[in-house]
Symmetry: D2
Subunit: 379 residues, 4 copies
């Protein structure tokens, strides 16, 4: 474990899409927040020795490795950042925590609730020894959404009544788009629901500070068979899902996720309606937040690039917009700050488990004629 | 009944919001479509003799009356246009049709399914004698939505898979907003659901040409008690409603209506996602339609003010935008054209009844734990 | 002249685009403002007896005529509304005023400054006898722009420094678009400059309450020859014009007008930047106004459909948007109200002349290498 | 000089706003384009030894220095990237080129035309020896604008006729904003004109491939005196500037720049109207491009995050938006690619000089009553 004020050695497991985004964050976080502990990019881990070695240097890593277990034994590694597919999360995270490493796990926490529960249990033990853990819902680090949460928490939109959240993509619109592991239940768990719905549910919990206490849902697979490498295959996950959620605070949430929403590339839209105001956000315009606060009648379009807004101060002057990948730098900074302060970062593994309990309730409601299901309460 | 090419005498029953909007339409339809039968604005009918007399002249009426029954006997009245509250629709419409008058009924068709069924039955008999009837879903006459329907019908967005429709208003956000007949079940039937949901459901049927075959729903009353003239009263209708609908064509529709959506004044938003394109509309920008057609990857913003687009040719040059009330003029024109041609106008009373069967299924699902309900099929 | 509380007989001269829009206004103004004097639509005047007779009834006129001089002699005509091409304005307006009729002249006031000066002179004499006159800059009657003017006048954006105004259309983009009277200097005076620039300049004067005291400009004809009915002809007016204007209040205005702005149908955009706020408007979204008031940092999007906003109260509930043609109804109402009150309506003929003096300064600057020209001051 | 396929050592001179943005780019370019020569971040140079030493490590630099001259002598430095204020550009750039180092100079090229001409002369000599030079107009590296240029170059909007370009900020709106070196002519050269106008003019040249051959202009200082550290001082540069430019290709450009545009934070807006289409861009939404191509009637909103669009392929999947600072990474990549290929990167010092000649013509026109001035032609 790290000493106060000392540098921290980091290992990232995985070097595909998420491994690359996290590598950028570790390489950049010092420029963003020079007040935090210095990061040493020790080792990038992957299965293919040639590929991971090739990827390591451009991404800023000192070394590469194919053996994550040996990496956990290194004294120069303080943080293990897990960016591999979900079914591998539990094994690596548990081992890393037990080795005394601080751990970040990309969302979703795990593919099954059993695995997630195990991870929560180990994280709790580790926490009591000062070992930190976090799940990587990076959209919590979007300045506009962090600002939105502040407004809700300060009561500036009053009591929240209605939330509309949709996460729409279009990469499966074409019936000829090929089969992949993401479209098989055994490897992916679910389709749009888990992949996109997990972000949406995390935002609801984050923005409102409420738990989900009821879910009524439907899922749909519009294109049931797709071309695979060995001929046509059945698609066994959902293409889209819909749910109505009731929260512990009495709000009703409509949720819609899809990979079939023609012309929506990566469109996470969130609207929150309260008794004294409202908020609106769209990921395709991630530097903007529309707000009605304190009883105002009409919405104001904020450009969230002012130095006093969350995360913005470490970057550029007003009007110089940020991109999607800056959120990972913010995430790394929040994690480092918690480690340095001896605090537990959020969202915790418990938060990750709570999201998965809601996903499970949605799946069950969809399987039972849409009747309302109450998610299990985490222990 | 009218002679071909002859003028048509019109009576409007009701002179409040809808009566005024319909009066404007009858006064203007000749300027919009001089090729149609000439309209004679014979008589405006209301309960308060002084008030209706005062209203009649500015709205273009030759006379006023307090007795709708006597108006039905007048030989100079060919068309009866019913703009009174919903619980009075059935009685007047049935009498008018039986008196051989063509009839327009403002939406919703009636407050109960029993009444609506009776109206359908009488309209069918009348139809066989050349007497025409129509229910007034005026949003079918918005040029952008009429164009959207054309695009769907021509297959330019392919097979429709997902529809998102929301109709959001904010006039009940304030807990101190007073009690009214619209907030009592006995007078209003339902709240946002019937008032706003009926428009939304009609659009789904209109745009897709599908029937609704399943509904899972929730309704909510956020402010349960409001100040009435005799003290605090219980609100007995919904403030907001949510539903997921399955259509006969295999599309899934998410529907959300509310009177508590802070900063949304009159926001009907519709998105249709198909296998080869998508469409997007917002009533607050009613001259615009966003389209992805024929496999295009990105949306194009049409300004629906071109002379070759539906309804536009009778108005102004490109870029000269229309307003909400122009839809009533289009509605009157479509009705006159059908009468002149000896055709049945749409939407028919059967369409109105179909909408109400969906509303009933939604109410029932909401009462039964959101489980999916199949709307009754009209005879 | 009219008696207080009596009805007013109206004649419209011209039944093309503008004649039709004005007719709609006279037919509708009573419904919009039943408190004003009742309008009698006496006579529609045009040159082609058959055509004008055919147009009259659908537009609500009791009679038609081909002889505007005889119409001026009728005792049942109190108001003469002139919607013919600009070179005919002076003769008819002068005769009508001398006959004691209240007069509205469509913009621009006249084709030459000499004619405009004559009209102003006669209008002044008539005014002293209680005869009213007005020039028809209908965009002053857009609720959003009337609200904008209120905000400026109340100091809510502070001292105005910069104004950006553009009026862009695209109907001449195609080189094959045919020759017409609008493209010949002798008939049209100028091109985009007079047609679109006059609206833009009127708005600057209206919103700011400043005079234009300096103009530097350029004009351009991009397509110099176009197909005419007798072969290819020279285009002798501008396709587009640009100017920088200095106002009496120290503001600088950039002005751009064009008929070659591909994909802009009828796009009048206005932005006003002050020391304590800003305003933004787009005619293609005419129910919206973007405002920064009282030192606010970010813009709020108003939907100008609230009952306490200018002109809105006579129409529909919030969120029910108005169209381009409603502005003529508002214009008629303002005119009637001034006549009834014995006041002079605005904009006056003097306002119309002031606009033309600015247009003349722009033309001269464009002809003199863009050097700054000070418009003549009206007497 | 670098060997083919070898790594390149880089020194950045300056560590304020621009020095930091360029440092981020050098640290990230390898991850973005692993195919390019490897960058060694050798040394960060600044005047304050403590501050530059503190800045160096978080920004990724191996060392810091206070002596730029000695850095030019280092064999391990191949590239010198100059991010200091404009009046220091010439001296350092000339020395660096003469030392055989490849050079990047932040825009604007220099504060005077004499300096810029000298720099061009030296760059030409160096070029013949394979030493490369570039001026840093980073907005050429915005994917949406690079795509826009492609569309223009391919003729998809036809012949360009009109361009509207504005660059509006609001940081001087408040009269109490303090005096600074940027508001004194001797240190800053000009105000909004040079700072913002240089970007705007570079874009016109870049997008159209035209030279500016005429300029008519006005400049204005709205707040003439501001509080300085030693009392109130005169502001001796412009707050805003306006120009109409004529290009060698016959297009007319309206240009407006301001630091007084209330509620515009960093708003560079560009519209290009051609004979067969149009383009629209706004820096506050830098991942979007609105296009009308090939004669289309209405604009399509592109999200420029597709892998086959310029610069996008090295980043993330569709819909994952980029930020302002990614442009510097693209710039570094383009520079490295040219060096590796033995090509001259663009924009060249000649391009930088051409922009300054246009700025000079604008200043002169503003001083001479707005009369049109023809910029000097570069030798």
């Amino acid at each position: 474990m790290s000493q106060p004020d000392a540098s921290l050695g980091v290992a990232v497991i995985g070097y595909a899409f998420m491994g690359r985004a996290h590598s950028d964050a570790w390489r950049t976080v010092g420029a963003f927040r020079p007040d935090l502990p210095v990061v040493r990019q020790q080792v990038l881990v992957g299965r293919d020795a040639t590929e991971v070695a090739r990827a390591a240097r451009p991404l800023g890593w000192a070394e590469s490795s194919t053996d994550w277990r040996s990496v956990l034994e290194r004294a120069d590694v303080d943080v293990v950042d897990i960016c591999v597919p979900g079914h591998l999360h539990a094994e690596i995270a548990v081992a890393a925590l037990e080795a005394g490493k601080h751990v970040i796990v990309e969302k979703p926490l795990a593919n099954t609730i059993v695995e997630a529960e195990k991870m929560v249990e180990v994280a709790r033990s580790a926490r009591s020894c000062g070992v930190r853990s976090m799940v990587g819902f990076n959209y919590r680090r979007i300045p506009a959404l962090a600002l939105a949460r502040q407004h809700v928490a300060e009561g500036r939109i009053g009591e929240v009544r209605q939330v509309r959240v949709s996460y729409l993509q279009d990469w499966l619109v074409d019936e000829r788009a090929p089969m992949s592991w993401r479209l098989r239940r055994e490897s992916a768990g679910s389709g749009a629901l888990g992949d996109l719905g997990s972000h949406a549910i995390d935002q609801v919990r984050y923005l409102l500070g409420h738990e989900v206490v009821g879910a009524s849902a439907r899922t749909q697979t519009f294109v049931g068979r797709r071309p695979g490498t060995d001929g046509v295959e059945d698609v066994t996950v959902d293409d889209a899902a819909w749910a109505t959620l009731l929260t512990s605070g009495g709000a009703v949430v409509s949720l819609e996720v899809s990979r079939m929403a023609t012309a929506r590339k990566n469109s996470l839209q969130i609207e929150v309606f309260g008794s004294r105001g409202s908020l609106r956000f769209d990921l395709e315009s991630l530097n903007e937040l529309w707000v009605c606060l304190d009883g105002a009648d009409f919405p104001t379009r904020l450009l969230v690039t002012e130095p006093d807004q969350p995360y913005v101060g470490g970057w550029w002057p007003p009007g110089h917009v940020l991109g999607w990948d800056h959120t990972f730098t913010h995430q790394a900074a929040d994690f480092l700050q918690a480690v340095a302060a001896g605090d537990d970062p959020t969202p915790s593994f418990e938060d990750g488990l709570a999201v998965q309990r809601v996903l499970a309730a949605i799946s069950r409601s969809a399987a039972e004629d849409s009747r309302e299901i109450r998610p299990e309460v985490s222990r």
